[in-house]
Symmetry: C2
Subunit: 278 residues, 2 copies
């Protein structure tokens, strides 16, 4: 059973003219709930509220989100909290209403811990043919418009493949369908630049902070898809899973290398217990 609060009231339906539904005019977050606690809640709120500012969607105070979220998750051992913030109803047509409104939804969704082998042995990844479009106005944001990811994820059913990588039409790899991507080359951590598309993941932010903490050099830059073959190590991250090493893309295999392992240890130290060694 799902459990939703919509503008503070229990319910599980929204108005058909909510702009989140009609135009994907909104943002969302999915937050790991562990032992009744919200993991990196402040970082998720940072992204959500920055996005709302950028899209000019009025957002409630952090405290209101914290109160409602805390109530929803307090008895939950392992789950996911979803927050959705839309531009609300009112005014037909693309122009935002003159008097700004918003809809705020918080929902507690059941979760299942990923298999341990994904952390220990790594995952198998493929390249998706569905591309990701350059959209600087929403780059970095987790907007409700995720149809490209849906179509990319629909490209395979083989359960041996865990994630698919998405590239732009001009051949730069940006992300996985549900994750951010990292490469290690000559001891340097590299992650695709997200100034024109892709989602600025909360776990990406944490990995980069932790990399700096252990003196690991990192760069965000344009990554041509055919540069992946030259990487020494490869991994993907998101806030629900933490970090998964990539052990294979097509015919190319990668080790779960020293840099990946040291970052996993850092993440485990930051409270992401999934990333702790066996």
């Amino acid at each position: 059973m799902h459990n939703w609060l919509i503008d503070g009231v229990a319910g599980d339906r929204i108005a058909v003219d909510d702009r989140g539904f009609t135009y994907a005019d909104g943002l969302f977050e999915t937050i790991a709930v562990r032992d009744g606690q919200l993991r990196f809640f402040d970082y998720h709120l940072d992204r959500l509220l920055n996005g709302a500012r950028q899209l000019n969607i009025p957002a409630p105070e952090r405290e209101l989100f914290a109160d409602e979220a805390g109530d929803l998750v307090k008895e939950s051992e392992y789950a996911t909290l979803k927050i959705i913030l839309t531009r609300g109803t009112g005014h037909r047509g693309y122009a935002p209403p003159v008097t700004a409104t918003s809809s705020r939804l918080l929902g507690l969704l059941p979760g299942v811990p990923p298999a341990r082998t994904k952390y220990i042995d790594g995952i198998v990844v493929r390249h998706c043919s569905t591309s990701i479009g350059h959209s600087p106005a929403t780059a970095g944001l987790k907007t409700l418009g995720r149809l490209e990811q849906v179509l990319a994820r629909a490209e395979w059913e083989d359960t041996a493949i865990t994630e698919g990588l998405m590239s732009t039409t001009d051949g730069y790899v940006i992300c996985g369908t549900m994750s951010n991507l990292f490469l290690v080359r000559h001891g340097v951590l590299v992650t695709p630049d997200l100034t024109t598309c892709g989602i600025n993941g909360v776990m990406r932010r944490i990995v980069l902070e932790r990399a700096a903490r252990i003196g690991l050099q990192w760069r965000a830059e344009a990554v041509p898809r055919d540069h992946l073959g030259a990487a020494d190590e490869l991994f993907v991250t998101n806030s629900l899973i933490g970090l998964w090493p990539v052990r294979r893309i097509a015919d190319r295999t990668y080790p779960v290398g020293a840099v990946t392992r040291s970052l996993m240890a850092e993440l485990a130290g930051a409270g992401i217990s999934e990333c702790a060694g066996p």
Copy 2:
């Protein structure tokens, strides 16, 4: 008061986990209702059902849409029928559910006829800085993901400006925020190619059919934004308004020229009475 049928049942709310809301995983149509009739209903259903096939969303038969739509609009003199088709609820995460479902919504929305001057004198248009992303997997389709259009439309409040043009980051003009764009150059009709982004408008299809009928040469091709200055005539179309000549973009003015006027006469003949001369 709005008037909605959701999967055949009167109502105005949808499930918060409908994939149309959570991922913009769906399509929509807005159809002109005039004197109790749906204008170019078959063309709208063509696009909707082609889109559903392309996205692998199961769609009901045309007859069901026609029956429900007919009931909603039969007493309506001037309105808009909106149809929304989503991948339904079920299965969390981007992967579509193994057992395909869909949600079908039809709603009757009030409409107001545009001012006659827009047809006679033309409209003022601006260039938007919000770009439109290359997304070949959904190009041409009217998906629920319209945040780029929302942000582009939010760029201006001056009511003297009717429409804003959207271009790709590499400088090709694609469309208006709510319309398709046409240029006339040396007697040839040119409209932006939509193979990587933009919406394949129903009125665009009709204009191209009618152009062929009157022996007017036309081409769909990549249009660099700075080529607009060299156009002899310019106009925009959509299925609710028909055709509006463009009389000005920034400092450049355009006449309501002979080609535009002959196409408007054709559209008036095809039942789009707004386009009839004064």
